[in-house]
């Protein structure tokens, strides 16, 4: 995979990132806005995600039904998603049809309608989306753990928002959110695929450069104070299965500890995107039948978020015993330096995952814009090198610093009628 890309700032402050790939007649275009659930206060939780939904309800030029049909008709794939830190929209199209996607994004950056009728109909759609999540014990548990882990920082609420807010948010609040954040100087356009950079850039300028710059919206900054002790919570619900989440505060994407932590996670829970049946936690918990499954992971975020270990408890074990085995395994990485060979293994695994990702044009356009949301494209291109520089001492230091009981929340889903502890 080549790392050569073109990066340009338009006069109105919009950032453009272009990467030519000529292996298939496909172009993937992503537009990113620096707004996510972290930019919402109490009473307005879910605004960013709901705004994302409203972006599919049409403009004068592209009314709702025209809009989705236009993309599908050309054989395009499109979607959008909202995260803690950003909102992104993508279209992957046959190369000769990409102009439609660009016109659409330029238009809905400023002209979405947000009619009362559409807001009303989308309210029940989003409530239904949330009800679907609530059917899952893991969602209920994650939500409770996140709320316990953050009291001050807006990472405390789920991206979809609280039900009370979904019932109450008004059309004007949504529209205001849209106008505040959907401006060119708060956006990044990342495009990869089968195009000529010069011609593509000319077209982007024609479509986007006349959109007026707005007042750059400040991010909501409410740092979470240090956690002062372990928190534990229980959720009850239907079923026979006991789920456990152990969540530690995790460094931000640009913190020096981020990469050692990635290596630590590869050793403990397995490399992301691969099976993990030889990870330390799998061997300690699943091979020994304390758990029927274990996995772990973190999100890459602007501010410190969570490193979570997910456990499905073995029906024949008490949760306390399972947690004691987990703690013993964590203590090992805090006490004993990991061999260098384990770090090389983590690096090789990451190299393979990167190679799989580069088969796919959509994925390459994604990473350009995504890395820009919390750092820069250099963060992505330097990833494997930074991982390779991690030392056994780094891993031990990070394990000692972050994997402290006082820095964690333990959440347990107790199936109704089953004694858990």
């Amino acid at each position: 995979m080549t790392d050569k890309i073109t990066q340009v700032a338009l006069k109105n402050g919009m950032k453009v990132m272009l990467k030519e790939i000529h292996t298939a007649p496909i172009i993937s275009s992503w537009i990113w806005y620096r707004v996510g659930s972290r930019d919402e206060s109490t009473g307005g939780t879910g605004l960013s995600h709901w705004t994302e939904h409203m972006q599919f309800k049409g403009t004068k030029q592209f009314p709702a039904q025209v809009l989705d049909k236009a993309i599908s008709r050309e054989g395009g794939r499109w979607n959008a998603s909202t995260s803690n830190d950003s909102t992104r929209y993508f279209e992957t199209m046959p190369a000769d049809k990409i102009d439609l996607a660009l016109r659409l994004e330029a238009d809905r950056m400023q002209n979405s309608l947000f009619t009362e009728k559409d807001v009303a109909s989308e309210r029940t759609v989003i409530i239904s989306e949330r009800e679907g999540y609530e059917n899952e014990p893991m969602f209920r548990l994650s939500e409770a753990v996140q709320q316990a882990a953050f009291h001050v920082h807006p990472y405390h609420h789920e991206i979809i928002g609280d039900m009370a807010d979904l019932r109450a948010i008004t059309r004007d609040a949504l529209y205001e959110h849209y106008r505040k954040y959907y401006i060119p100087n708060n956006a990044v356009l990342s495009i990869a695929g089968d195009f000529e950079t010069k011609a593509m850039l000319k077209r982007i300028r024609e479509l986007f450069e006349s959109i007026p710059r707005g007042k750059t919206p400040p991010r909501l900054i409410r740092p979470e104070p240090e956690q002062m002790g372990e928190k534990r919570l229980y959720i009850e619900g239907p079923g026979e299965t006991t789920y456990v989440q152990v969540a530690y505060r995790h460094p931000s994407a640009t913190h020096a500890d981020y990469f050692p932590f990635q290596v630590l996670d590869s050793l403990l829970g397995g490399a992301s995107g691969l099976s993990s049946k030889t990870s330390r936690l799998y061997r300690a918990l699943v091979d020994t039948e304390y758990a029927v499954d274990v996995s772990s992971g973190s999100e890459t975020t602007i501010d410190p978020f969570l490193y979570r270990i997910f456990i499905i408890n073995h029906p024949k074990r008490k949760i306390e015993k399972t947690l004691a085995v987990l703690d013993a395994e964590i203590k090992k990485v805090q006490d004993v330096l990991v061999p260098k060979s384990e770090i090389s293994r983590a690096v090789k695994q990451a190299r393979a995952v990167f190679a799989y990702g580069s088969e796919n044009i959509t994925n390459q356009a994604f990473w350009m814009g995504y890395s820009e949301m919390f750092s820069s494209y250099k963060w992505f291109t330097g990833y494997l090198n930074k991982l390779a520089k991690v030392t056994p001492h780094d891993v031990r230091r990070v394990a000692r610093t972050y994997l402290q009981p006082k820095n964690r929340v333990i959440g347990i889903y107790l199936p109704q009628g089953v004694e858990g502890t």
């Binding site: 995979m1 039904q65 046959p94 091979d287 499954d293 088969e359």
Partner: protein, 423 residues
């Protein structure tokens, strides 16, 4: 601009070879990334298992990597995971499938472990028992899944008395009854080179890769490998049947409404596919999405799907709705099905979906896994290696009358299977 036709799999760029022991090898180069994808199947599916041992085929498939004559479970996965490779097996009704990927430098390792898992599994007792406990937890989780339970009851009602009515992951009592001997017997009878197809796509030389497969699997001989039993006919649905699976404590109910659909090789497959696109896929989930989600705001998702394979297919509408809106959603879907068979589709609707099918082809073939899946499909259903070159014509020649005729053949709104799960 890159030529669209050149990038499609075809006889000029897919290399096909049949080894002396009957294994079919398909290979295609893609040097975009230093990675390789391996996929394939063999005829060892759930169709061979008895009602008392439901789940056996999938249990066997999942156990293949739990220990072989030369590797323990941990040692086998250690070799794979240490190089960032992956490999897995699972069983469907007709076949056991496998899939894996690695950096191209590790393809020999991947093929070695694939061969070992297929040919020499030992089904170690302690590993089988661990897997069984995990399996039973999986079934307990399934029992709480409104979507999974609605689908399972749907299959039971639609395919009453047919092997397709049975869940391939079995039931608690059938999974508990499966012995190590059952597994070893199943493996001995049904695993072999006859009918095995393997596709390899990535940074490889197709001809050389055939040699590599031959070295790994060419020596495999299994005399007397059983042939698949004939499928019984399905029983027609004579009037609408309904079932509600009650699950307390859930916020959402799931529904599946449907009927039979064509086989993959039936002549009306393309008209059914295009009809299904218009009914519940195109744009924001087609007409169904339009009425249930966009106009009524009843659901986050509501779509239709066509499942066409070796045997009789199914045509299904799925939605997740608030329990109090269940009846309303069912009524809206029934109304759409009525409209669909009464008036058919418009010229514009058909043209839109045809254009969409043709345009999305290169997108579905973006990754090595996508290409491997596509050429395995060609082989499985004998579509011909020029299939993707003929594809545009096959799509374009479907007429509005074809769609209507096919819809009327399969959809009868007074003979539906309606399955729901929730509070």
């Amino acid at each position: 601009m890159t030529n669209a036709k050149m990038s499609l799999p075809g006889p000029e760029n897919v290399h096909r070879a049949v080894l002396p022991n009957g294994i079919t090898v398909l290979a295609r180069s893609n040097f975009q990334s230093p990675s390789v994808n391996v996929g394939g199947y063999l005829p060892a599916g759930a169709v061979f298992e008895s009602d008392e041992k439901l789940g056996l085929a999938d249990f066997v498939a999942t156990s293949l990597m739990r220990g072989t004559r030369t590797h323990s479970f941990d040692a086998l996965y250690n070799e794979l995971e240490s190089v960032g490779a992956s490999l897995g097996f699972y069983s469907g009704v007709h076949t056991t499938s496998f899939g894996g990927r690695s950096l191209v430098e590790d393809l020999p390792l991947l093929l070695k472990l694939l061969s070992e898992s297929l040919r020499m599994p030992t089904f170690p007792k302690d590993e089988i028992e661990k897997l069984r406990a995990q399996w039973l937890t999986g079934l307990a989780i399934r029992a709480q899944d409104t979507s999974g339970m609605a689908s399972m009851a749907f299959d039971r009602m639609l395919f009453d008395g047919h092997p397709y009515s049975r869940p391939t992951d079995g039931f608690v009592e059938t999974v508990e009854s499966i012995t190590r001997r059952d597994m070893a017997d199943f493996h001995r009878r049904h695993f072999g080179p006859k009918g095995l197809v393997i596709a390899i796509v990535g940074a490889i030389d197709p001809k050389k890769v055939v040699g590599a497969v031959e070295r790994a699997l060419g020596g495999w001989q299994v005399p007397g490998q059983a042939d698949a039993p004939m499928l019984p006919p399905v029983k027609p649905i004579k009037k609408t049947v309904r079932h509600h699976h009650a699950l307390a404590g859930k916020s959402q109910s799931n529904l599946v409404i449907g009927m039979f659909g064509p086989r993959r090789n039936d002549p009306e497959y393309f008209s059914a596919s295009l009809g299904n696109s218009i009914l519940g896929q195109f744009g924001m989930m087609g007409r169904i999405g339009e009425v249930v989600r966009e106009k009524s705001g009843l659901a986050y998702y509501a779509y239709s799907s066509l499942n066409s394979g070796t045997g009789p297919g199914s045509w299904e509408v799925h939605a997740g709705v608030n329990p109090k809106n269940l009846k309303k959603a069912i009524a809206l879907i029934e109304k759409e099905l009525h409209r669909f068979i009464k008036h058919g589709v418009t010229k514009d609707e058909l043209a839109d979906s045809q254009s969409s099918f043709i345009g999305q082809l290169p997108l579905s073939l973006e990754s090595n896994g996508g290409v491997a899946g596509a050429i395995l499909n060609i082989e499985r259903y004998q579509l011909g290696y020029d299939y993707y070159h003929r594809y545009e014509r096959l799509v374009r020649e479907v007429t509005r009358d074809d769609v209507l005729e096919t819809a009327r053949k399969y959809i009868a709104p007074d003979r539906l299977v309606i399955s729901t799960a929730g509070p």
